[in-house]
Subunit: 335 residues, 2 copies
């Protein structure tokens, strides 16, 4: 999970300690170790996806793959206990992990939930939120771990399975092609607006704050949207955990395309900047050569019609918004 709603682009190119650079080095290390386990054949094997997508896709036996993701939620980094209740934190920790599966077009079946918490933390309240999110997503919490800790950290792993031949393969970040249309599953910026309101001391009980505050506190994974996108011929998808600009950049990088954003649907109460840069949306950004087909499938499934935001372009053009280049977007953890 990315840190929330940074509301601004990064401070330049990657440093050796930025998240993406660290992940690349870890991928190398773990790939070498995998080669020792699996001395022949491609790494990862054909059809598997390891580090670098929303979720990992791993073969369990011939024809059956697990789709598997994990996310961390850290107090003081992703959430702030002064404005987030513990049940909201539990809810969010499960929902954001499930959202990684939604972005693959996969359904979560099971979750493990681990909580490292300072003494005095109301684990029951946190558990209430985890249980509500589990029920809402049709996912069963089957285990986890519990530990004391100087800081509150919640780690959730979610597991689904897909059998080969039961529809198209999981939707990857790498599948977008030049010319593809980009759609989002809903208007953006509500979560960032909710956080801004909470930080300003507003509650979620006023009519003008209820929707953005709920979007921040109780984000909903777009599971059906992801599944319909996969079944209706999308080429790639990513969940907008990091802001549209940041996640469009990740999609572009993974697929080897440029991205020209030309329109950003703004959620009620949000600013245009919040819609472009605010994270923790969990709407999906979907690439497809057939936007009308995908949109019709959404409507037929009773979902909101996805909205066009731009196109995939030549990689040389990079990431642009209304023709102007966007710098490296989104929040990165530094170590």
């Amino acid at each position: 999970m990315q840190s929330p709603n940074s509301g601004g682009r990064g401070d330049g190119g990657p440093s050796p300690d930025d998240e993406f650079a660290v992940i690349e080095r870890l991928r190398g290390r773990f790939g070498e170790a995998a080669r020792a386990v699996q001395p022949s054949g491609p790494i990862p094997p054909e059809g598997d996806t390891w580090i670098g997508d929303d979720a990992a896709v791993v073969t369990l036996e011939a024809g059956l793959r697990a789709v598997w993701a994990t996310d961390l939620v850290v107090d003081g980094v992703h959430v702030d206990r002064r404005i987030c209740r513990l049940d909201d934190i539990g809810y969010k920790a499960l929902m954001v992990t499930v959202s990684d599966l939604a972005a693959m077009g996969a359904w979560p079946r099971y979750a493990l939930a681990s909580v490292a918490a300072p003494r005095g933390t109301d684990i029951d309240l946190l558990g209430d939120g985890l249980a509500v999110a589990a029920r809402e997503t049709g996912c069963v919490v089957v285990g986890g771990d519990l530990s004391g800790s100087p800081a509150l950290v919640v780690s959730v792993a979610a597991l689904g399975a897909v059998r080969e031949g039961a529809g198209p393969a999981p939707l990857l970040r790498t599948g977008a092609r030049q010319g593809d249309h980009l759609l989002v599953t809903g208007p953006l910026g509500a979560s960032a607006a909710g956080l801004r309101l909470l930080r300003a001391g507003r509650s979620g009980s006023d009519p003008d704050t209820a929707v953005p505050v709920a979007a921040y506190r109780r984000p909903r994974a777009r599971l059906l949207e992801g599944e319909v996108a996969r079944l209706s011929g999308a080429s790639a998808a990513i969940d907008i955990s990091d802001g549209l600009a940041g996640d469009a950049e990740k999609l572009a990088r993974a697929s080897g395309v440029g991205i020209a954003l030309d329109r950003v649907p703004v959620a009620p109460g949000a600013t245009a900047e919040e819609a472009l840069d605010g994270g923790e949306e969990y709407e999906l950004l979907v690439a497809t050569a057939d936007p009308d087909g995908v949109a019709s499938a959404f409507v037929a499934a009773g979902l909101r019609r996805p909205e066009p935001v731009g196109r995939c372009t030549d990689p040389a053009t990079g990431l642009t918004y209304r023709g102007s280049p966007l710098g490296p977007g989104g929040w990165r953890h530094r170590f």
Copy 2:
């Protein structure tokens, strides 16, 4: 993962905030949520094991079950960075999670590794340790999450799969029966002794400290031992993460038996108390009606002959060591 090497029994009965009581309440919450997802049939379904064992066993499709576990390692709680290197922490985080699968007689296939770390943490060094443990256990790290955090927390999830009919089912904590013999896969207390030596300022480079310090820093999951126990007719197993006394108590409670310990093999350099109460051993405690059959299978597989430590008794006799009652054992997190 339990906290290390408490070297003493708990301070009496469960409080509403102790780990076991909290887990029981969470099990209730998650069970209710599961009932909403799965309105008919038993919860968990026949053959599945959810919260309460070393690992969860969950059905992915007819005849195929995942064995799935997660563990947290928290700096200042389970490890102390003043005496543990980051690569040792990474190694341990993966190994202790894999050990939960070993206790089920299941082999890990894949792992997700998540790290929440303060700025300045050498994630590469931590990753080195994770990669070494992955290679040693034949497990591939296929994803994870990386976040800033006020405290270092490493969370690893490990996944294996078992097909029905491919040998006996995973070994549970609930399978021990009155009269069963109890075996351990090796002498105990080495890890606790290693921690004691490190805390006293000793290094692991002296001939008399190398073995216990390595046992503490680089514990090895007993994967082959767990598999051979499962295949040779063990009735139950648990890994000794929490001290023999503490884990024997958990096994007794889960299986509804008493346990009479009469002998504890002590590792070189460890005290008798460290062997009985020291945690983080990752040797397995195995129950079986046929100790000679299990021991022969171990020897035939090239493993050390497991050593008898006691018997399963009438539940009314509780947990005893050489005839004297043992209080509630092992370390519990309190919230």
